[in-house]
Amino acid sequence: MTQTIPTKPVVSWGPLGAAVAVDHLEKQLGSNKVLRGISFQAHSGEIFGLLGPNGAGKTTTLRLICTLLAPDAGAVEVLGFDTRTAAQEVRRRVGVVTAEIGVYPRLTARENITYFAELTGLLDGQLSKNVDAVIDRLDMGSFATQRAESLSSGQKQKVAIARAIVHDPPVLMFDEPTSNLDVLASREVREFMIESRARGKCVIFSTHVLHDAERLCDRITIIHEGRVVASGATTDVRGKFLDLEDSFLSLVDAP
Protein backbone atom coordinates (compact mmCIF):
# COMPACT_ATOMS: atom_id res chain seq x y z
CA MET A 1 0.00 0.00 0.00
CA THR A 2 1.38 3.40 -0.92
CA GLN A 3 1.20 6.04 1.77
CA THR A 4 2.52 9.56 1.91
CA ILE A 5 5.08 10.11 4.62
CA PRO A 6 3.92 13.05 6.76
CA THR A 7 6.21 16.04 6.61
CA LYS A 8 5.85 16.56 10.34
CA PRO A 9 6.03 13.92 13.04
CA VAL A 10 2.87 13.20 14.98
CA VAL A 11 4.66 13.89 18.24
CA SER A 12 7.64 16.03 19.14
CA TRP A 13 11.09 14.63 18.45
CA GLY A 14 12.80 12.81 21.27
CA PRO A 15 14.77 14.51 23.99
CA LEU A 16 17.70 16.55 22.73
CA GLY A 17 16.59 15.94 19.16
CA ALA A 18 17.58 12.30 19.26
CA ALA A 19 16.75 10.28 16.15
CA VAL A 20 16.08 7.27 18.36
CA ALA A 21 15.12 7.74 21.99
CA VAL A 22 14.77 4.68 24.19
CA ASP A 23 13.27 5.38 27.60
CA HIS A 24 13.23 2.86 30.47
CA LEU A 25 12.42 -0.03 28.18
CA GLU A 26 11.31 -3.32 29.71
CA LYS A 27 10.52 -6.58 27.95
CA GLN A 28 9.82 -10.10 29.09
CA LEU A 29 9.90 -13.02 26.64
CA GLY A 30 8.30 -16.10 28.14
CA SER A 31 9.68 -16.41 31.64
CA ASN A 32 12.82 -14.48 30.77
CA LYS A 33 12.99 -10.79 31.69
CA VAL A 34 15.19 -9.69 28.80
CA LEU A 35 15.21 -5.91 29.30
CA ARG A 36 15.08 -4.22 32.72
CA GLY A 37 14.78 -0.51 32.06
CA ILE A 38 17.09 0.30 29.15
CA SER A 39 17.52 3.96 28.20
CA PHE A 40 19.70 5.60 25.56
CA GLN A 41 19.58 8.04 22.66
CA ALA A 42 21.09 7.81 19.21
CA HIS A 43 21.50 10.83 16.95
CA SER A 44 21.60 11.53 13.26
CA GLY A 45 25.12 11.63 11.78
CA GLU A 46 26.61 9.24 14.30
CA ILE A 47 27.32 5.55 14.64
CA PHE A 48 25.88 4.45 17.93
CA GLY A 49 27.14 1.15 19.33
CA LEU A 50 24.89 -1.19 21.25
CA LEU A 51 27.28 -3.61 22.90
CA GLY A 52 26.91 -6.58 25.16
CA PRO A 53 27.56 -10.29 25.40
CA ASN A 54 25.27 -12.81 23.73
CA GLY A 55 21.88 -12.80 25.45
CA ALA A 56 22.33 -9.30 26.86
CA GLY A 57 19.21 -8.05 25.07
CA LYS A 58 20.70 -6.24 22.08
CA THR A 59 18.55 -7.92 19.43
CA THR A 60 15.41 -7.55 21.57
CA THR A 61 16.16 -3.83 21.92
CA LEU A 62 16.50 -3.43 18.16
CA ARG A 63 13.29 -5.39 17.59
CA LEU A 64 11.49 -3.07 19.97
CA ILE A 65 12.87 -0.01 18.17
CA CYS A 66 11.72 -1.26 14.78
CA THR A 67 8.27 -2.28 16.16
CA LEU A 68 8.63 -6.02 15.65
CA LEU A 69 8.01 -6.39 19.38
CA ALA A 70 5.96 -4.23 21.73
CA PRO A 71 7.41 -3.00 25.02
CA ASP A 72 5.98 -4.16 28.36
CA ALA A 73 6.97 -0.82 29.87
CA GLY A 74 8.87 2.27 28.80
CA ALA A 75 8.79 3.91 25.38
CA VAL A 76 10.68 4.22 22.11
CA GLU A 77 10.51 7.17 19.76
CA VAL A 78 11.98 7.13 16.27
CA LEU A 79 12.24 10.62 14.76
CA GLY A 80 9.47 11.60 17.13
CA PHE A 81 7.14 8.76 16.26
CA ASP A 82 6.07 6.55 19.15
CA THR A 83 6.56 2.89 18.23
CA ARG A 84 3.33 1.90 19.98
CA THR A 85 1.05 4.35 18.22
CA ALA A 86 2.78 5.00 14.89
CA ALA A 87 4.38 1.66 14.05
CA GLN A 88 3.97 2.02 10.27
CA GLU A 89 5.55 5.47 10.29
CA VAL A 90 8.48 4.10 12.25
CA ARG A 91 8.97 1.22 9.82
CA ARG A 92 9.03 3.63 6.90
CA ARG A 93 11.94 5.45 8.51
CA VAL A 94 14.02 2.51 9.65
CA GLY A 95 16.22 0.08 7.73
CA VAL A 96 17.46 -3.03 9.50
CA VAL A 97 20.29 -5.38 8.51
CA THR A 98 20.41 -8.57 10.55
CA ALA A 99 23.08 -11.22 11.02
CA GLU A 100 20.91 -13.77 9.29
CA ILE A 101 21.22 -13.06 5.58
CA GLY A 102 17.79 -14.22 4.49
CA VAL A 103 17.01 -13.63 0.83
CA TYR A 104 14.44 -15.16 -1.50
CA PRO A 105 16.54 -17.71 -3.40
CA ARG A 106 14.35 -17.97 -6.49
CA LEU A 107 14.24 -14.21 -7.03
CA THR A 108 17.12 -12.32 -8.56
CA ALA A 109 19.06 -9.80 -6.49
CA ARG A 110 17.18 -6.97 -8.20
CA GLU A 111 13.80 -8.65 -7.68
CA ASN A 112 14.59 -9.10 -3.98
CA ILE A 113 15.35 -5.41 -3.61
CA THR A 114 12.39 -4.31 -5.72
CA TYR A 115 9.99 -6.43 -3.64
CA PHE A 116 10.97 -4.64 -0.45
CA ALA A 117 10.97 -1.25 -2.17
CA GLU A 118 7.39 -1.88 -3.30
CA LEU A 119 6.30 -2.96 0.18
CA THR A 120 7.83 0.22 1.59
CA GLY A 121 5.44 2.17 -0.61
CA LEU A 122 7.81 3.60 -3.21
CA LEU A 123 5.99 4.59 -6.39
CA ASP A 124 7.00 3.36 -9.86
CA GLY A 125 9.31 6.18 -10.97
CA GLN A 126 10.96 6.63 -7.59
CA LEU A 127 11.08 2.88 -7.12
CA SER A 128 13.22 2.04 -10.15
CA LYS A 129 15.36 5.11 -9.50
CA ASN A 130 16.04 4.02 -5.91
CA VAL A 131 16.66 0.39 -6.89
CA ASP A 132 19.13 1.43 -9.60
CA ALA A 133 20.83 3.83 -7.21
CA VAL A 134 21.27 1.27 -4.45
CA ILE A 135 22.55 -1.36 -6.87
CA ASP A 136 25.07 1.15 -8.14
CA ARG A 137 26.03 2.37 -4.66
CA LEU A 138 26.72 -1.16 -3.38
CA ASP A 139 28.43 -2.18 -6.64
CA MET A 140 25.94 -4.97 -7.32
CA GLY A 141 25.64 -4.51 -11.08
CA SER A 142 27.53 -7.69 -11.94
CA PHE A 143 25.09 -9.97 -10.11
CA ALA A 144 21.84 -7.97 -9.98
CA THR A 145 20.12 -10.26 -12.47
CA GLN A 146 21.36 -13.49 -10.91
CA ARG A 147 19.07 -15.55 -8.73
CA ALA A 148 19.90 -15.11 -5.06
CA GLU A 149 20.42 -18.87 -4.62
CA SER A 150 23.57 -18.61 -6.74
CA LEU A 151 25.12 -15.68 -4.84
CA SER A 152 28.00 -15.79 -2.36
CA SER A 153 27.50 -14.85 1.30
CA GLY A 154 29.02 -11.43 0.71
CA GLN A 155 26.78 -10.81 -2.29
CA LYS A 156 23.73 -11.93 -0.31
CA GLN A 157 24.69 -9.56 2.49
CA LYS A 158 24.78 -6.75 -0.06
CA VAL A 159 21.26 -7.72 -1.15
CA ALA A 160 20.20 -7.65 2.52
CA ILE A 161 21.71 -4.19 2.96
CA ALA A 162 20.24 -2.95 -0.30
CA ARG A 163 16.70 -4.00 0.60
CA ALA A 164 17.07 -2.34 4.01
CA ILE A 165 18.17 1.00 2.56
CA VAL A 166 16.31 1.10 -0.76
CA HIS A 167 13.71 3.50 0.70
CA ASP A 168 16.53 5.72 1.98
CA PRO A 169 15.60 5.55 5.67
CA PRO A 170 17.08 8.14 8.06
CA VAL A 171 17.72 5.46 10.71
CA LEU A 172 19.79 2.36 9.96
CA MET A 173 20.23 -0.52 12.36
CA PHE A 174 22.84 -3.23 11.95
CA ASP A 175 22.45 -6.30 14.16
CA GLU A 176 25.71 -8.29 14.18
CA PRO A 177 26.04 -7.62 10.43
CA THR A 178 29.50 -9.12 10.01
CA SER A 179 29.11 -12.29 12.07
CA ASN A 180 28.62 -14.54 9.01
CA LEU A 181 30.94 -12.73 6.63
CA ASP A 182 34.54 -13.10 5.56
CA VAL A 183 37.14 -10.36 6.07
CA LEU A 184 36.54 -8.60 2.75
CA ALA A 185 32.77 -8.58 3.03
CA SER A 186 32.99 -7.41 6.65
CA ARG A 187 35.14 -4.50 5.62
CA GLU A 188 32.63 -3.46 2.97
CA VAL A 189 29.85 -3.46 5.57
CA ARG A 190 31.94 -1.31 7.93
CA GLU A 191 32.72 1.10 5.11
CA PHE A 192 29.06 1.31 4.30
CA MET A 193 28.25 2.26 7.89
CA ILE A 194 30.87 4.99 7.84
CA GLU A 195 29.50 6.28 4.55
CA SER A 196 25.96 6.31 5.96
CA ARG A 197 27.13 8.35 8.94
CA ALA A 198 28.69 10.82 6.53
CA ARG A 199 25.32 11.09 4.78
CA GLY A 200 23.72 12.15 8.05
CA LYS A 201 22.05 8.87 8.92
CA CYS A 202 21.59 7.65 12.44
CA VAL A 203 23.40 4.31 12.46
CA ILE A 204 22.83 1.92 15.35
CA PHE A 205 25.37 -0.87 15.37
CA SER A 206 24.70 -3.84 17.61
CA THR A 207 27.69 -6.12 18.13
CA HIS A 208 29.69 -8.14 20.56
CA VAL A 209 32.83 -7.60 18.46
CA LEU A 210 34.37 -4.84 20.57
CA HIS A 211 37.21 -4.18 18.18
CA ASP A 212 34.70 -3.20 15.46
CA ALA A 213 32.76 -1.03 17.89
CA GLU A 214 35.87 0.78 19.06
CA ARG A 215 36.88 1.59 15.50
CA LEU A 216 33.45 2.65 14.26
CA CYS A 217 31.28 4.01 17.03
CA ASP A 218 31.06 7.63 18.16
CA ARG A 219 29.10 6.69 21.23
CA ILE A 220 28.22 3.37 22.79
CA THR A 221 25.92 1.80 25.33
CA ILE A 222 26.90 -1.46 26.98
CA ILE A 223 24.06 -3.75 28.03
CA HIS A 224 24.47 -6.62 30.43
CA GLU A 225 21.66 -8.85 31.69
CA GLY A 226 19.06 -6.42 30.42
CA ARG A 227 20.51 -3.32 32.05
CA VAL A 228 22.71 -0.49 30.81
CA VAL A 229 26.07 -0.77 32.55
CA ALA A 230 27.84 2.03 30.67
CA SER A 231 26.93 4.72 28.18
CA GLY A 232 28.69 7.63 26.53
CA ALA A 233 31.37 8.54 24.04
CA THR A 234 33.49 5.53 23.08
CA THR A 235 36.64 7.14 24.43
CA ASP A 236 34.90 7.96 27.72
CA VAL A 237 33.62 4.42 28.22
CA ARG A 238 37.06 3.01 27.46
CA GLY A 239 38.37 5.43 30.10
CA LYS A 240 41.49 4.35 31.86
CA PHE A 241 41.60 0.95 30.18
CA LEU A 242 43.89 -0.01 27.36
CA ASP A 243 41.02 -0.86 25.06
CA LEU A 244 37.26 -1.32 25.04
CA GLU A 245 37.53 -5.03 25.71
CA ASP A 246 39.24 -4.48 29.06
CA SER A 247 36.70 -1.85 29.95
CA PHE A 248 33.85 -4.14 28.94
CA LEU A 249 35.20 -7.07 30.97
CA SER A 250 35.53 -4.92 34.05
CA LEU A 251 31.98 -3.62 33.63
CA VAL A 252 30.40 -7.07 33.34
CA ASP A 253 32.54 -8.43 36.19
CA ALA A 254 34.09 -11.09 34.01
CA PRO A 255 37.08 -12.94 35.49
Partner: protein
Protein backbone atom coordinates in the same frame (compact mmCIF):
# COMPACT_ATOMS: atom_id res chain seq x y z
CA UNK B 1 -0.81 -1.77 -6.13
CA UNK B 2 -1.85 -2.84 -2.63
CA UNK B 3 0.55 -4.68 -0.35
CA UNK B 4 -1.56 -7.83 -0.79
CA UNK B 5 -1.14 -7.51 -4.57
CA UNK B 6 2.61 -7.01 -4.27
CA UNK B 7 2.95 -10.08 -2.04
CA UNK B 8 0.67 -12.12 -4.33
CA UNK B 9 2.71 -11.27 -7.43
CA UNK B 10 5.98 -12.09 -5.72
CA UNK B 11 4.66 -15.37 -4.29
CA UNK B 12 3.30 -16.51 -7.67
CA UNK B 13 6.63 -15.67 -9.29
CA UNK B 14 8.53 -17.65 -6.68
CA UNK B 15 6.11 -20.58 -6.75
CA UNK B 16 6.34 -20.84 -10.52
CA UNK B 17 10.10 -21.04 -10.19
CA UNK B 18 9.84 -23.79 -7.58
CA UNK B 19 10.45 -27.21 -9.04
CA UNK B 20 8.59 -28.96 -6.18
CA UNK B 21 5.34 -27.13 -6.91
CA UNK B 22 5.61 -27.52 -10.67
CA UNK B 23 6.24 -31.24 -10.27
CA UNK B 24 3.23 -31.49 -7.93
CA UNK B 25 0.98 -29.81 -10.49
CA UNK B 26 2.44 -31.89 -13.34
CA UNK B 27 1.90 -35.10 -11.40
CA UNK B 28 -1.62 -33.98 -10.55
CA UNK B 29 -2.38 -33.68 -14.25
CA UNK B 30 -0.65 -36.95 -15.17
CA UNK B 31 -1.51 -39.20 -12.23
CA UNK B 32 -5.22 -39.66 -12.95
CA UNK B 33 -4.85 -40.59 -16.65
CA UNK B 34 -2.10 -43.02 -15.71
CA UNK B 35 -4.23 -44.64 -13.00
CA UNK B 36 -7.21 -44.85 -15.36
CA UNK B 37 -5.03 -46.34 -18.08
CA UNK B 38 -3.75 -49.01 -15.69
CA UNK B 39 -7.33 -49.77 -14.57
CA UNK B 40 -8.45 -50.06 -18.20
CA UNK B 41 -5.57 -52.40 -19.01
CA UNK B 42 -6.28 -54.60 -16.02
CA UNK B 43 -10.02 -54.67 -16.69
CA UNK B 44 -9.46 -55.49 -20.37
CA UNK B 45 -7.02 -58.23 -19.49
CA UNK B 46 -9.40 -59.64 -16.89
CA UNK B 47 -12.34 -59.63 -19.29
CA UNK B 48 -10.44 -61.31 -22.12
CA UNK B 49 -8.39 -63.74 -20.04
CA UNK B 50 -8.98 -67.51 -20.28
CA UNK B 51 -8.98 -69.44 -17.00
CA UNK B 52 -8.22 -73.11 -16.59
CA UNK B 53 -10.54 -75.72 -15.13
CA UNK B 54 -8.80 -79.00 -14.21
CA UNK B 55 -11.21 -81.92 -14.25
CA UNK B 56 -11.50 -85.65 -13.78
CA UNK B 57 -14.34 -88.02 -14.63
CA UNK B 58 -16.69 -88.03 -17.59
CA UNK B 59 -17.69 -84.66 -18.98
CA UNK B 60 -21.44 -84.39 -19.77
CA UNK B 61 -22.11 -84.08 -23.51
CA UNK B 62 -22.13 -80.48 -24.83
CA UNK B 63 -20.66 -78.97 -21.68
CA UNK B 64 -17.22 -78.53 -23.25
CA UNK B 65 -18.71 -76.15 -25.85
CA UNK B 66 -20.13 -73.97 -23.09
CA UNK B 67 -16.79 -73.99 -21.26
CA UNK B 68 -14.94 -72.79 -24.35
CA UNK B 69 -17.55 -70.10 -25.07
CA UNK B 70 -17.23 -68.73 -21.52
CA UNK B 71 -13.46 -68.49 -21.51
CA UNK B 72 -12.76 -71.58 -19.43
CA UNK B 73 -10.17 -74.00 -20.73
CA UNK B 74 -10.71 -77.62 -19.71
CA UNK B 75 -7.58 -79.51 -18.66
CA UNK B 76 -7.69 -83.17 -17.51
CA UNK B 77 -5.90 -83.70 -14.19
CA UNK B 78 -5.47 -86.65 -11.83
CA UNK B 79 -6.49 -84.88 -8.63
CA UNK B 80 -8.60 -81.72 -9.21
CA UNK B 81 -8.58 -80.76 -5.49
CA UNK B 82 -4.78 -80.67 -5.37
CA UNK B 83 -4.45 -79.06 -8.82
CA UNK B 84 -6.82 -76.24 -7.77
CA UNK B 85 -4.27 -75.02 -5.22
CA UNK B 86 -1.74 -73.83 -7.81
CA UNK B 87 -1.84 -75.71 -11.13
CA UNK B 88 -5.29 -74.66 -12.37
CA UNK B 89 -7.85 -72.03 -11.36
CA UNK B 90 -10.63 -74.41 -10.37
CA UNK B 91 -10.83 -78.18 -10.00
CA UNK B 92 -13.90 -80.18 -11.06
CA UNK B 93 -14.71 -83.81 -10.36
CA UNK B 94 -17.49 -85.14 -12.57
CA UNK B 95 -19.28 -88.23 -11.28
CA UNK B 96 -22.33 -89.72 -12.93
CA UNK B 97 -24.94 -87.57 -11.15
CA UNK B 98 -23.07 -84.59 -9.72
CA UNK B 99 -19.98 -82.37 -9.92
CA UNK B 100 -17.65 -81.36 -7.06
CA UNK B 101 -15.90 -78.00 -7.41
CA UNK B 102 -12.62 -77.06 -5.69
CA UNK B 103 -11.21 -73.53 -5.67
CA UNK B 104 -9.10 -71.28 -3.48
CA UNK B 105 -11.07 -68.06 -2.64
CA UNK B 106 -7.84 -66.23 -1.77
CA UNK B 107 -6.83 -66.34 -5.47
CA UNK B 108 -8.54 -63.74 -7.63
CA UNK B 109 -8.22 -65.91 -10.76
CA UNK B 110 -9.98 -68.73 -8.91
CA UNK B 111 -12.83 -66.38 -7.94
CA UNK B 112 -13.25 -65.24 -11.55
CA UNK B 113 -13.10 -68.83 -12.83
CA UNK B 114 -15.76 -69.83 -10.27
CA UNK B 115 -18.06 -67.03 -11.48
CA UNK B 116 -17.66 -68.22 -15.06
CA UNK B 117 -18.26 -71.83 -14.04
CA UNK B 118 -21.52 -70.81 -12.32
CA UNK B 119 -22.55 -69.09 -15.56
CA UNK B 120 -21.76 -72.25 -17.53
CA UNK B 121 -23.76 -74.38 -15.12
CA UNK B 122 -26.72 -71.99 -15.23
CA UNK B 123 -26.81 -72.13 -19.04
CA UNK B 124 -26.34 -75.89 -19.08
CA UNK B 125 -29.07 -76.47 -16.49
CA UNK B 126 -31.45 -74.17 -18.35
CA UNK B 127 -30.84 -75.95 -21.65
CA UNK B 128 -31.24 -79.44 -20.12
CA UNK B 129 -34.47 -78.52 -18.32
CA UNK B 130 -35.94 -76.91 -21.44
CA UNK B 131 -35.07 -79.99 -23.53
CA UNK B 132 -36.59 -82.29 -20.94
CA UNK B 133 -39.81 -80.25 -20.76
CA UNK B 134 -40.11 -80.30 -24.55
CA UNK B 135 -39.64 -84.10 -24.54
CA UNK B 136 -42.64 -84.32 -22.21
CA UNK B 137 -44.71 -81.94 -24.33
CA UNK B 138 -44.48 -78.99 -21.95
CA UNK B 139 -43.77 -75.44 -23.18
CA UNK B 140 -40.42 -74.33 -21.65
CA UNK B 141 -41.86 -70.83 -21.14
CA UNK B 142 -43.64 -72.25 -18.10
CA UNK B 143 -40.29 -71.71 -16.33
CA UNK B 144 -40.68 -67.94 -16.87
CA UNK B 145 -44.23 -67.19 -15.65
CA UNK B 146 -43.74 -63.38 -15.44
CA UNK B 147 -41.48 -62.18 -18.28
CA UNK B 148 -40.02 -58.73 -17.69
CA UNK B 149 -39.15 -56.17 -20.38
CA UNK B 150 -36.76 -53.51 -19.06
CA UNK B 151 -37.05 -49.94 -20.42
CA UNK B 152 -34.32 -47.74 -18.88
CA UNK B 153 -35.26 -44.06 -18.81
CA UNK B 154 -31.65 -43.09 -19.27
CA UNK B 155 -28.65 -44.79 -20.70
CA UNK B 156 -27.36 -47.43 -18.25
CA UNK B 157 -23.82 -46.84 -19.51
CA UNK B 158 -24.14 -43.09 -18.95
CA UNK B 159 -25.54 -43.79 -15.46
CA UNK B 160 -22.59 -46.09 -14.77
CA UNK B 161 -20.26 -43.36 -16.00
CA UNK B 162 -21.90 -40.75 -13.77
CA UNK B 163 -21.78 -43.08 -10.81
CA UNK B 164 -18.06 -43.53 -11.39
CA UNK B 165 -17.57 -39.79 -11.77
CA UNK B 166 -19.62 -39.00 -8.66
CA UNK B 167 -17.01 -40.78 -6.57
CA UNK B 168 -13.85 -40.09 -8.48
CA UNK B 169 -14.31 -36.41 -9.29
CA UNK B 170 -15.02 -35.14 -5.73
CA UNK B 171 -12.19 -37.32 -4.46
CA UNK B 172 -9.71 -35.82 -6.90
CA UNK B 173 -11.06 -32.30 -6.45
CA UNK B 174 -10.68 -32.39 -2.68
CA UNK B 175 -7.34 -34.14 -2.51
CA UNK B 176 -5.85 -31.89 -5.19
CA UNK B 177 -7.22 -28.71 -3.61
CA UNK B 178 -5.28 -29.76 -0.53
CA UNK B 179 -2.14 -31.32 -1.93
CA UNK B 180 -1.76 -29.20 -5.08
CA UNK B 181 -0.93 -26.09 -3.08
CA UNK B 182 0.55 -27.69 0.02
CA UNK B 183 4.16 -27.30 -1.05
CA UNK B 184 3.54 -23.67 -1.99
CA UNK B 185 1.71 -23.00 1.30
CA UNK B 186 4.54 -24.36 3.40
CA UNK B 187 7.13 -22.60 1.27
CA UNK B 188 5.42 -19.26 1.68
CA UNK B 189 4.93 -19.64 5.45
CA UNK B 190 7.40 -22.04 7.08
CA UNK B 191 9.81 -21.29 4.24
CA UNK B 192 9.96 -17.60 5.23
CA UNK B 193 11.18 -18.60 8.65
CA UNK B 194 13.54 -21.27 7.34
CA UNK B 195 15.14 -18.83 4.86
CA UNK B 196 15.36 -16.13 7.55
CA UNK B 197 13.36 -13.68 5.44
CA UNK B 198 10.42 -13.39 7.81
CA UNK B 199 11.89 -10.65 10.00
CA UNK B 200 12.77 -8.46 7.02
CA UNK B 201 9.28 -8.93 5.59
CA UNK B 202 7.59 -7.97 8.86
CA UNK B 203 9.85 -4.91 9.09
CA UNK B 204 8.19 -3.38 6.06
CA UNK B 205 5.27 -0.99 6.62
CA UNK B 206 2.95 -3.42 4.81
CA UNK B 207 0.07 -4.44 7.11
CA UNK B 208 0.41 -8.05 8.19
CA UNK B 209 -3.15 -8.94 7.26
CA UNK B 210 -2.42 -7.80 3.69
CA UNK B 211 0.79 -9.81 3.59
CA UNK B 212 -1.20 -12.85 4.69
CA UNK B 213 -3.97 -12.24 2.16
CA UNK B 214 -1.38 -12.03 -0.63
CA UNK B 215 0.14 -15.33 0.42
CA UNK B 216 -3.16 -17.17 0.85
CA UNK B 217 -4.55 -15.96 -2.48
CA UNK B 218 -1.35 -17.09 -4.23
CA UNK B 219 -1.59 -20.55 -2.66
CA UNK B 220 -5.31 -20.69 -3.52
CA UNK B 221 -4.57 -19.99 -7.18
CA UNK B 222 -1.96 -22.76 -7.28
CA UNK B 223 -4.28 -25.23 -5.51
CA UNK B 224 -7.07 -24.37 -7.88
CA UNK B 225 -4.81 -24.77 -10.91
CA UNK B 226 -3.64 -28.17 -9.69
CA UNK B 227 -7.20 -29.37 -8.98
CA UNK B 228 -8.62 -28.19 -12.28
CA UNK B 229 -5.64 -29.57 -14.22
CA UNK B 230 -6.16 -32.97 -12.58
CA UNK B 231 -9.89 -32.97 -13.32
CA UNK B 232 -9.48 -31.77 -16.89
CA UNK B 233 -6.93 -34.48 -17.58
CA UNK B 234 -9.21 -37.06 -15.96
CA UNK B 235 -12.20 -36.06 -18.10
CA UNK B 236 -10.09 -36.11 -21.26
CA UNK B 237 -8.63 -39.50 -20.31
CA UNK B 238 -12.09 -40.94 -19.68
CA UNK B 239 -13.16 -40.07 -23.23
CA UNK B 240 -10.10 -41.77 -24.69
CA UNK B 241 -9.46 -44.84 -22.57
CA UNK B 242 -11.44 -48.02 -23.25
CA UNK B 243 -12.44 -50.28 -20.42
CA UNK B 244 -12.75 -54.04 -20.89
CA UNK B 245 -16.30 -55.25 -21.24
CA UNK B 246 -17.74 -51.75 -21.64
CA UNK B 247 -17.67 -52.11 -25.38
CA UNK B 248 -16.15 -48.71 -26.03
CA UNK B 249 -15.02 -45.46 -24.52
CA UNK B 250 -16.32 -44.52 -21.10
CA UNK B 251 -19.36 -42.24 -21.45
CA UNK B 252 -18.57 -38.97 -19.63
CA UNK B 253 -21.39 -36.46 -19.31
CA UNK B 254 -20.58 -33.64 -16.91
CA UNK B 255 -23.46 -31.19 -17.20
CA UNK B 256 -22.84 -27.45 -17.39
CA UNK B 257 -24.49 -27.03 -13.98
CA UNK B 258 -22.24 -29.67 -12.46
CA UNK B 259 -19.22 -27.99 -14.04
CA UNK B 260 -20.11 -24.61 -12.54
CA UNK B 261 -20.79 -26.16 -9.13
CA UNK B 262 -17.45 -27.98 -9.33
CA UNK B 263 -15.50 -24.77 -10.05
CA UNK B 264 -17.34 -22.84 -7.33
CA UNK B 265 -16.67 -25.56 -4.74
CA UNK B 266 -13.07 -25.83 -5.90
CA UNK B 267 -12.56 -22.10 -5.22
CA UNK B 268 -14.09 -22.36 -1.73
CA UNK B 269 -12.16 -25.52 -0.87
CA UNK B 270 -8.87 -24.20 -2.22
CA UNK B 271 -9.26 -20.94 -0.25
CA UNK B 272 -10.13 -22.80 2.97
CA UNK B 273 -7.33 -25.33 2.60
CA UNK B 274 -4.86 -22.57 1.75
CA UNK B 275 -5.74 -20.67 4.93
CA UNK B 276 -5.37 -23.84 7.00
CA UNK B 277 -2.07 -24.91 5.45
CA UNK B 278 -0.57 -21.41 5.64
CA UNK B 279 -1.63 -21.27 9.31
CA UNK B 280 0.02 -24.65 9.95
CA UNK B 281 3.11 -23.51 8.07
CA UNK B 282 3.25 -20.38 10.21
CA UNK B 283 3.34 -22.59 13.28
CA UNK B 284 6.25 -24.60 11.91
CA UNK B 285 9.92 -23.69 12.21
CA UNK B 286 10.77 -25.18 8.83
CA UNK B 287 9.35 -26.86 5.74
CA UNK B 288 9.76 -30.37 7.09
CA UNK B 289 7.99 -29.57 10.35
CA UNK B 290 5.22 -27.97 8.32
CA UNK B 291 4.78 -31.20 6.36
CA UNK B 292 4.49 -33.12 9.63
CA UNK B 293 1.79 -30.73 10.84
CA UNK B 294 -0.11 -31.01 7.56
CA UNK B 295 -0.07 -34.83 7.38
CA UNK B 296 -3.24 -35.33 9.48
CA UNK B 297 -5.09 -33.13 6.99
CA UNK B 298 -4.82 -35.92 4.40
CA UNK B 299 -6.88 -38.24 6.58
CA UNK B 300 -9.37 -35.53 7.52
CA UNK B 301 -10.04 -34.80 3.87
CA UNK B 302 -9.86 -38.28 2.39
CA UNK B 303 -12.41 -39.78 4.78
CA UNK B 304 -15.36 -37.59 3.73
CA UNK B 305 -14.26 -37.85 0.12
CA UNK B 306 -14.53 -41.63 0.34
CA UNK B 307 -17.97 -41.76 1.94
CA UNK B 308 -19.73 -41.85 -1.43
CA UNK B 309 -17.78 -45.00 -2.26
CA UNK B 310 -18.77 -46.79 0.93
CA UNK B 311 -22.33 -45.44 1.21
CA UNK B 312 -23.42 -44.74 -2.39
CA UNK B 313 -27.04 -44.03 -1.45
CA UNK B 314 -26.20 -41.70 1.44
CA UNK B 315 -28.94 -39.03 1.34
CA UNK B 316 -28.63 -36.95 4.51
CA UNK B 317 -30.77 -34.06 5.69
CA UNK B 318 -29.69 -30.46 5.24
CA UNK B 319 -27.82 -30.32 8.55
CA UNK B 320 -25.16 -32.66 7.18
CA UNK B 321 -24.33 -30.02 4.59
CA UNK B 322 -22.87 -27.89 7.38
CA UNK B 323 -19.96 -30.33 7.69
CA UNK B 324 -17.08 -28.95 5.61
CA UNK B 325 -15.64 -31.19 2.87
CA UNK B 326 -18.43 -33.77 3.29
CA UNK B 327 -20.89 -31.14 2.09
CA UNK B 328 -18.81 -30.43 -1.01
CA UNK B 329 -18.66 -34.16 -1.80
CA UNK B 330 -22.42 -34.55 -1.46
CA UNK B 331 -23.34 -31.46 -3.49
CA UNK B 332 -20.97 -32.44 -6.26
CA UNK B 333 -22.17 -36.05 -6.25
CA UNK B 334 -25.79 -34.93 -6.58
CA UNK B 335 -24.93 -32.49 -9.37
CA UNK B 336 -23.09 -35.20 -11.33
CA UNK B 337 -25.56 -38.05 -10.81
CA UNK B 338 -28.77 -36.04 -11.29
CA UNK B 339 -27.41 -33.32 -13.58
CA UNK B 340 -29.21 -30.72 -11.42
CA UNK B 341 -28.24 -28.48 -8.56
CA UNK B 342 -29.87 -28.64 -5.13
CA UNK B 343 -29.76 -24.92 -4.41
CA UNK B 344 -30.63 -25.29 -0.73
CA UNK B 345 -27.80 -27.73 -0.16
CA UNK B 346 -25.42 -25.62 -2.25
CA UNK B 347 -26.27 -22.50 -0.21
CA UNK B 348 -25.69 -24.23 3.12
CA UNK B 349 -22.48 -25.75 1.76
CA UNK B 350 -21.23 -22.39 0.50
CA UNK B 351 -21.94 -20.68 3.84
CA UNK B 352 -20.25 -23.52 5.71
CA UNK B 353 -17.13 -23.37 3.53
CA UNK B 354 -16.95 -19.56 3.61
CA UNK B 355 -17.19 -19.61 7.43
CA UNK B 356 -14.55 -22.35 7.58
CA UNK B 357 -12.27 -20.29 5.33
CA UNK B 358 -12.85 -17.14 7.39
CA UNK B 359 -12.11 -18.94 10.66
CA UNK B 360 -8.98 -20.47 9.14
CA UNK B 361 -7.86 -17.04 7.93
CA UNK B 362 -8.50 -15.56 11.39
CA UNK B 363 -6.42 -18.34 12.96
CA UNK B 364 -3.64 -17.77 10.42
CA UNK B 365 -3.72 -14.02 11.10
CA UNK B 366 -3.53 -14.53 14.87
CA UNK B 367 -0.54 -16.81 14.38
CA UNK B 368 1.07 -14.44 11.92
CA UNK B 369 0.81 -11.40 14.19
CA UNK B 370 1.97 -12.89 17.48
CA UNK B 371 5.38 -11.98 18.85
CA UNK B 372 6.30 -15.63 19.32
CA UNK B 373 6.48 -15.91 15.54
CA UNK B 374 9.81 -14.10 15.67
CA UNK B 375 11.01 -15.10 19.09
CA UNK B 376 10.67 -18.81 18.31
CA UNK B 377 12.73 -18.42 15.18
Amino acid sequence: MSSAGIVFRKEIREILRDRRTLIAIGLAALATPIVLFVISQVSTKTASATYTAGYSGSLPAGLDVLFNATGLKLVPVDDPATAAKHQVDIGLVFTGSRVDEYYDPTRQSAQLADVRFQTVLSKYDGAKIAASLQQHGVDPSVLDPLPVSVHPLSSPTVAAGNSFLSFFLPYILITMCLTGGLSAALDTSAGERERKTLESLLLTPAPRNQILVGKIVAVTVISLAAALAAIASMLIALTQIRFGGAGGAFPVQLSADAGVVMVWLAILLAASFSSVTVALGTLARNFRQGQAYATPLYFITIFPASIVLFIPDFNPNLAYYLIPILNAVLVLRDAIVHGAVNWGALSVTSISLVVTGALSFYAALKLFTREALLVRS
